[in-house]
Amino acid sequence: MSYTRRSKDELAARVVQDIPEGATVNLGIGQPTLVANHIPSSREVLLHSENGILGMGPAPAKGQEDYDLINAGKQPVTLLPGGAFFHHADSFAMMRGGHLDICVLGAFQVSATGDLANWHTGEPDAIPAVGGAMDLASGAKQTWVMMDLLTKQGQSKLVQACSYPLTGIGCVKRVYTDLATLACTPAGLVVIDTVDGLSVQALSELIGLPLSS
């Protein structure tokens, strides 16, 4: 049976299905940023930006950019009425202190038990950079990953054990991919959904790990 991958927007919309009304959410740089575009206006979700913003709004209209008002990816954003600014130590206290409900991050690899690798390829010549990835991964009440399931070479990014340097241990609760949504548990991967036409058996073969559903 044939199946179609979720587009990046479809994947973002799938993540949004699981974000409840009233949640405080941090969206990582890159693909997770798309999630904001799919939150329905009827649902009040507070977006946190690690550089010191709570209640972040959408990108400004062209010509209205203010470069004192940017997100963690350093792109101009806006502030919703009720939004607040704060310094970096408070911003990271919001994560570490368990005040942030959900963070959505990209990843190089995630292990079946929720170890995350998303900051460094570990290659000798690579310039390492970590930013807030480790703080978010270990601090938010729930860490979700949003990524393609397979690398361009067709290898699963869901693995038994990460080969890249770790960002956090056992911190990922859910992985949203272009082919399926899975939960990481101490006992391994649990399938939440797959795209139409993709059986759990076929998914298990792609990942190369046992799945429960």
């Binding site: 010191g52 203010d66 994560m95 570490r96 270990s138």
Partner: protein, 236 residues
Amino acid sequence: MINKFVSSVSEALADTRDGATVMIGGFGTAGIPDELIAGLLAQGARDLTLVNNNAGNAEQGLAALLKAGRVRKIICSFPRQTDSYVFDGLYRSGQLELELVPQGNLAERIRAAGAGIGGFFTPTGYGTELAKHADGSLKETREIDGRMYVYETPIHADLALIKAERGDRWGNLTYRKAARNFGPIMAMAARKTVATVHEQVALGELDPETVVTPGIFVQAVVKIDRVATQAGGIKA
């Protein structure tokens, strides 16, 4: 009479010594004290340790300090940028020491220094490469209520360079939007803090309920003409 306003950047930075640890505020385009960084370059102190979130872009600002060979070590969370080639070259050739710190640990280590805390246990980074010392040995860890934590030490500085928005002669400061970022905590962590402001106001003009950095944390303030950060520009 207390008056922390000084007439020029060069006067504010004149006593900066070789070997100083210098914190520099800013994140992305917001809150970078450009005039103070240029002043530090002109002042000439060498063998500096810089504390910043990043490690410079292109050849301006912080990258100009690196390029001029004035920096021995940088403590930051995210040196890699599309145009961080000055840092990249110095780091790869071993001419610049890097201490890479998760961003929240960086902020809290700075805050701890300012608050007189001798370090803290944090879950961030536990079990990762960043829970190791520069020599590869493991940092101290502790299990607290069933969770593993890593011990992190405070980061003190000789000098902090920060960008604020409004200030009075006692050194009370407010900031503008996300330009606040590291300013308030760096001001606390340094023996000497120099802040730029775009508006010099009389005592009492800042609402005391909304002062963000109380003047006790600030030693010198320099007024700098407003620079447009809004697309349409900001009227002075």
